[in-house]
């Protein structure tokens, strides 16, 4: 699991474990709690971390370079593979940027479909977090089993729409790939009816869970000022008490038509980040309830503007477009040179940038807390390394 190497030689014939010297420990890259391959170089004094540096690149697959060698439509496929727990959000962010770059209109029905998909995706992604985080804190697999039961239902609904359970490629420039089948509305209605009681079950199971509270309260505190300074976003920023949600601050799709709240933490510890995600599931359900009622009343209509497979956005145009993905601000910066493929395709991955403050959150805590803190940031390595 971890390898050790003594820093300077032991003093005066003492074995280094007795000399009180700092020890450098590599946590990872293969470690169950890193959700992928991330290495943490931790310098320990006994059990206390005195320095920590994350080492990246084990999953680097040069998505940006690959996207620059493909057409805009082909590049959507790559975005699925970055944040694979929120592939719909990645599809959406890329499509919004491409549509702004190439002036592609989107029909009304597609706006509803997109919003339903990304909010379901947010619930699925947070369900994953609700399952894995208590697991990392020592509350073992029970929450995992519960939350995966509900995530499974969402994945089934996605499978109905696009035949895929993880990498959807469903949202395309100009709309969505195809309309939803009739059974989707039935499944979604059942899901929306059942889910509030399921969330209540999670709360009962987790919010007063002694293990979880002991492992996460007052651990890994990120202050409000530091969260802003370190460009943290999403639940990490809101956990630190900053009222900032791009769905409210810079509404995209049709979020401005719906009524929802933005949950905010108090002191910015692991518990607050956990609690914010729990509340966000409820808010997503609120949005879905309102949106679904309008969606079922919609007359059948086009779900996609016909767009050529290969199109050429105007030369010299550039765009920075952002959405609130389950992990934070997911931004796409695209530059066009008038060609069929993007001249520059930059992805601002929230997972990666949220790791900037990891050192400051971890130093001074014990090794086991480092795992809890890393888990509370909720990273996806596919997006960190891209």
């Amino acid at each position: 699991m971890a390898s050790t190497s003594g820093v300077p030689a032991a003093q005066a014939g003492l074995p280094f474990s007795q000399a009180g010297e700092p020890v450098l420990v590599n946590i990872g890259p293969q470690h169950p709690s890193t959700h992928g391959v991330l290495r943490l170089r931790a310098l320990l004094d006994g059990e206390v971390i005195i320095d920590l540096e994350p080492v990246f690149g084990y999953l680097h697959s040069s998505m940006e370079k690959l996207a620059e060698l493909r057409t805009y439509t082909q590049a959507i496929t790559l975005t699925d593979r970055m944040d694979y727990l929120a592939a719909m959000s990645n599809n959406l962010a890329a499509c919004l940027a491409i549509e702004k770059l190439a002036d592609i209109p989107v029909p009304e029905r597609a706006l509803y479909l997109r919003l339903i998909m990304v909010e379901l995706q947010r619930i699925a992604s947070h369900c994953m977090f609700l399952g894995t985080y208590p697991n990392e804190c020592g509350a073992w697999s029970t929450p995992w089993m519960y939350s995966f039961r509900d995530r499974e239902k969402i994945l089934d609904m996605f499978e109905m729409c696009c035949g895929q359970r993880l990498t959807y490629n469903y949202i395309r420039p100009g709309g969505v790939a195809q309309d939803v089948p009739p059974e989707f509305a039935i499944a979604l209605r059942v899901f929306l009816k059942d889910m509030p009681s399921r969330v209540a079950e999670y709360e009962e199971l987790l919010v007063e869970n002694e293990i979880l509270i002991a492992r996460s309260k007052h651990i890994g505190i990120l202050s409000r000022e530091q969260a802003i300074n370190a460009s943290a976003s999403g639940p990490v920023l809101r956990g630190s008490g900053v009222l900032w949600d791009i769905r409210k601050a810079d509404p995209y799709l049709i979020y401005d038509r719906y009524d929802f709240d933005v949950p905010v933490g108090e002191i910015g510890d692991c518990w607050d980040r956990f609690w914010v995600r729990m509340e966000e599931i409820k808010e997503s359900l609120r949005i879905l309830h309102q949106c679904f009622e309008e969606f079922v009343e919609l007359p059948p209509g086009p779900y996609r503007t016909p767009v050529d497979w290969v199109f050429h956005p105007p030369a010299g145009r550039e765009i920075y477009s952002r959405i609130e993905s389950p992990r934070g601000e997911l931004g796409y910066y695209l530059v066009s040179d008038g060609g069929a493929n993007p001249y520059r395709f930059r992805v601002r991955g929230p997972s990666q940038i949220n790791l900037t403050a990891l050192k400051d959150m971890t130093v001074g805590h014990k090794v086991a807390d480092a795992i809890a803190i890393l888990g509370s940031i909720d990273i996806v390595m596919g997006e960190v390394d891209r």
């Binding site: 690149g57 680097h60 040069s62 300074n229 943290a232 910066y333 940038i353 900037t356």
Partner: protein, 166 residues
């Protein structure tokens, strides 16, 4: 809705305090000289309540490498694009924004890794994604990708041999 600040308005504001900072101004962005970047950002922090670094990246235009900063003010809900151009491709150097925003840390390392832009003053400027010892900077437009190794006897290799390619 967030408001994108006009580069021309910001340039007018900057000129009063930093007369030599602005290289070029446009409606949607503002290019400043590398030497004036830190002062510009400090000034923006003070005057326009710019407090958040959204995105930091670079674009290779072959004539020059452009480092692009997307800054915003969470308080006023404003966004602003600032650019810095490096005309010397071999020794591209820009001051680091880490003294002002910790959030620049990993993003500057990524730009250094993939574009070869040196950020002067960065506390830990190492490659982020590629391994130490990797030659070249993959996202530069003149980067030549190494050929994908083909196993002996594969159709691609045979075709290459027919065409006289190595």
């Amino acid at each position: 809705m967030s408001t994108w600040l006009s580069g021309r308005d910001v340039a007018r504001l900057l000129r009063a305090h930093l007369p030599d900072a602005v290289e070029e101004e446009a409606d949607d962005c503002l290019a400043v000289y590398p030497g004036a970047l830190l002062d510009t950002c400090r000034h923006l922090q003070r005057e326009l309540a710019i407090d958040y670094l959204n995105n930091l990246t670079a674009v290779d235009y072959l004539d020059y490498i452009e480092v692009v900063y997307h800054l915003s003010s969470l308080e006023r809900n404003h966004l602003l694009t600032i650019k810095v151009r490096c005309y010397d491709r071999e020794h591209a150097e820009v001051p680091s924004l880490t003294p002002l925003w910790q959030g620049a840390d990993l993003q500057e390392r990524e730009v250094y890794d993939l574009f070869g832009v040196v950020f002067a003053g960065h506390p830990n400027l190492k490659r982020l994604l590629m391994w130490e010892g990797f030659l070249g900077h993959p996202l530069r437009k003149d980067f030549v990708m190494p050929p994908f190794p083909q196993p002996p006897g594969s159709p691609v290799r045979k075709r290459g041999e027919e065409l006289g390619l190595d």
